[in-house]
Subunit: 427 residues, 2 copies
């Protein structure tokens, strides 16, 4: 970690910079893949699956037999854990289902708003070394609560043409309607434009590598909604001397182990704490199978000493972390001052990993300072809101002249006449 | 209007197609403008303002003197109308401010969510023939209610270097913090990346021509949030024999007058109604200063006869109109079956223009079938939601083993250890 002691506000912009990198070459590869899936459908999907996943598939849909096998392969312990996590995620996300009461804005003018589920959504779950069944929970559970009718899931097959049993088990349990063994930019294209086998959806959710991310950005330009712009995962921990340095260290590492481009930041008023945390990191690294990822992520991470509490708060809001851990005596005071963050973990007994898996909050969160303008995934992400108005004759008589004046001032005469022609007959 | 009688579902896809067109040449122009503003700031802004708006400006910020002059130029009638509209918009949007209660998902595990305002937002208001002060109301009023601290507004100057008095008056009244005389893709770039004079914002709102729309799509890829993907405005009217054909006709025209690429659709069970509406359109067109726009928009618009009510509902949901007028005896029954629409106008006395200006609902709505996945602008558009969790020792002891099992199954051992290291010390 790079140590900065009382950095001047002038250099904060550098300290809040995230490791990044999208290249032009990648963009043109993705554009080509999207175009091929659009025009050649399943044929192109098969080609890319053979190329990137190194397996020949004649069909992508997961069969009932594969599902049965997967369910038998997941241990009872893991099943029980997944069910507890699912229940907590349901409990929390259900609190977000709120309707507003209709309101009479003027006598005879009734207005209201209703949330309706997005009918068809797609979930992308990456393959690779770690089977991210927890992300299935985080996306399929709120989709189901919202009332989405079709919930499609795509995940790349391994070289034997299989998807991890834990992913399949979780998907089935959460009510995913169809699962397809297809990955990468080609999976995003299939869900965006549809193929003979894979239906198109209106919104695509889920993490992925830089090709997947690029493909999501591109289909968004064609009007397909996406959950969030994505970047490498990150955590900022604000700790004072009350914090156990070992706990701070392992929390930093649990973010750093995600990948070499993860970023972890420690903000503290105590230089001694930085030293103690760094010592713990050295020891703990040895326990980690993903040590090499974590070590490299630490090289572009920061330890920042700021004595003044207001500076700490200002820095956190400027950084706008995806995850914020307040391992601090005054956590409850600090939390009220934070307005830019994805998810906040308060106090010493709230490690990020509880939110990553099971507390009930969502783990799909805005990275790269997007928390300044974006929410993490929540029930709203799976719904859209329609507004309604209904006027009585008297309501129209009352508001009509207002509308006529405004429409005329905007030179939109048909707008004006749509009121005038009615009022003329209602006299 | 093109008449389709009982069109087969096979051809619905064609009937729901919108007139469109973004060209490659435009894309490269916009990319260049963005790049120049990014690197040369105000200097490039001046260059493009001279080129596109044909006026030389030494500074962009609207001065207090200009504001005073504008306020004196707006008629008292219009001021009163704007104030009534503002009050209704406030009343409606305030109903959308709702907080969720914290929830204990497991004993000792407390989770909650809070909405926080986006600190800095930008509003773009197009110039041209019609001064869209109504859009200022629709964007600045909810921004203020949400609690946004900086509300920047950009609008192109006319050849005398001025912005329409009605826009300036409305902006000031709604609490816009700074107004700049700059338009087009260059205005979007300035708000996205910031210049010496114009501050950068986290989210950009507002309509514009195809250059502005393209610029918004491009800055979105750089992580700047935008309100909505934009397309030409549209209305779908569902009318039965109870509707006054003149009212249907003028409602269609009030959408068609927006521009040549607007689309209007009439869905009815009655061929006789189509004929009557078309006759009324002929007569009414003569009253419209924007007759040429409206006439051309009508050439790519549709009148669709569907006898079966279920077919009507299915077609409306497939079309997903920005504006939906239910001028129908059974409007209240129909409205419950609609799940894809931007804003719905119910019954004969609710023309779209009341919602465009003054009823209280927002007029920034999803076009081009984006209503399948997007909401119109509402209070949520100006806020983002943060989630929080706080665990007690007992809470961590209860949920910890669940997290350990799941983290291990995802091969994320530091995630597991962030719980285990705590539990070890808490025994």
């Amino acid at each position: 970690m790079k140590l900065s002691i009382e950095p001047h506000k002038r250099v904060w912009a550098d300290l809040t910079l995230r490791p990044s990198g999208q290249d032009q070459a990648q963009e043109s590869i993705v554009v080509n893949i999207l175009q091929e899936i659009k025009t050649q459908g399943d044929l192109a999907l098969k080609k890319y699956t053979e190329k990137f996943d190194q397996v020949k598939l004649s069909t992508f849909k997961v069969t009932p037999e594969e599902m049965e096998y997967a369910v038998s392969k997941v241990s009872e312990d893991l099943k029980r854990a997944i069910i507890v996590a699912k229940t907590n995620i349901e409990t929390f996300h259900k609190t977000q289902l709120k309707e507003n009461e209709p309101v009479v804005t003027m006598p005879g003018v009734l207005c209201w708003q209703r949330a309706k589920p997005i009918e068809k959504i797609g979930i992308y779950i990456p393959g690779g070394t770690a089977p991210l069944f927890s992300t299935v929970l985080m996306l399929a559970v709120p989709a189901k609560i919202a009332g989405c009718k079709e919930i499609i899931l795509c995940s790349p097959p391994d070289r034997n043409g299989k998807i991890s049993p834990a992913i399949l088990y979780t998907a089935q349990m959460c009510g995913v309607t169809q699962i397809f063994k297809v990955g990468g930019a080609q999976a995003i294209a299939a869900m965006a434009y549809g193929t003979k086998e894979i239906p198109s959806v209106s919104k695509i959710f889920g993490p992925g590598n830089s090709f997947v991310t690029m493909a999501k950005m591109k289909v968004q330009q064609d009007g397909i909604a996406i959950d969030l712009p994505a970047g490498p995962s990150e955590v900022l921990i604000c700790a004072d001397d009350s914090a156990d340095p070992e706990w701070v260290a392992i929390d930093l590492l649990s973010q750093a182990e995600h990948g070499v481009d993860s970023q972890v930041v420690l903000v503290t008023d105590s230089e001694a704490m930085v030293k103690k945390v760094e010592e713990c990191i050295k020891t703990l690294l040895e326990e980690l199978p993903r040590k090499s990822f974590a070590s490299e992520a630490l090289t572009h991470s920061h330890a920042i000493v700021l004595k003044n509490k207001t500076d700490q708060i200002d820095f956190i809001n400027a950084y706008a972390p995806e995850h914020l851990i307040l391992n601090h005596m005054e956590a409850d005071f600090l939390v009220d001052q934070i307005y830019n963050a994805g998810s906040v973990f308060i106090g010493p007994y709230s490690p990020e990993s509880v939110g990553d898996y099971a507390s009930g909050t969502n783990h799909t969160l805005p990275t790269s300072a997007y928390a300044k303008a974006y929410s993490g995934v929540n029930i709203d992400s799976f719904m859209k809101k329609i507004t309604y108005q209904k006027l009585t004759v008297d309501g129209l008589k009352l508001i009509g002249p207002i509308v006529e004046i405004m429409a005329e001032a905007e030179h939109l005469i048909a707008h004006k006449l749509s009121v005038s022609k009615r009022l003329a007959k209602l006299k």
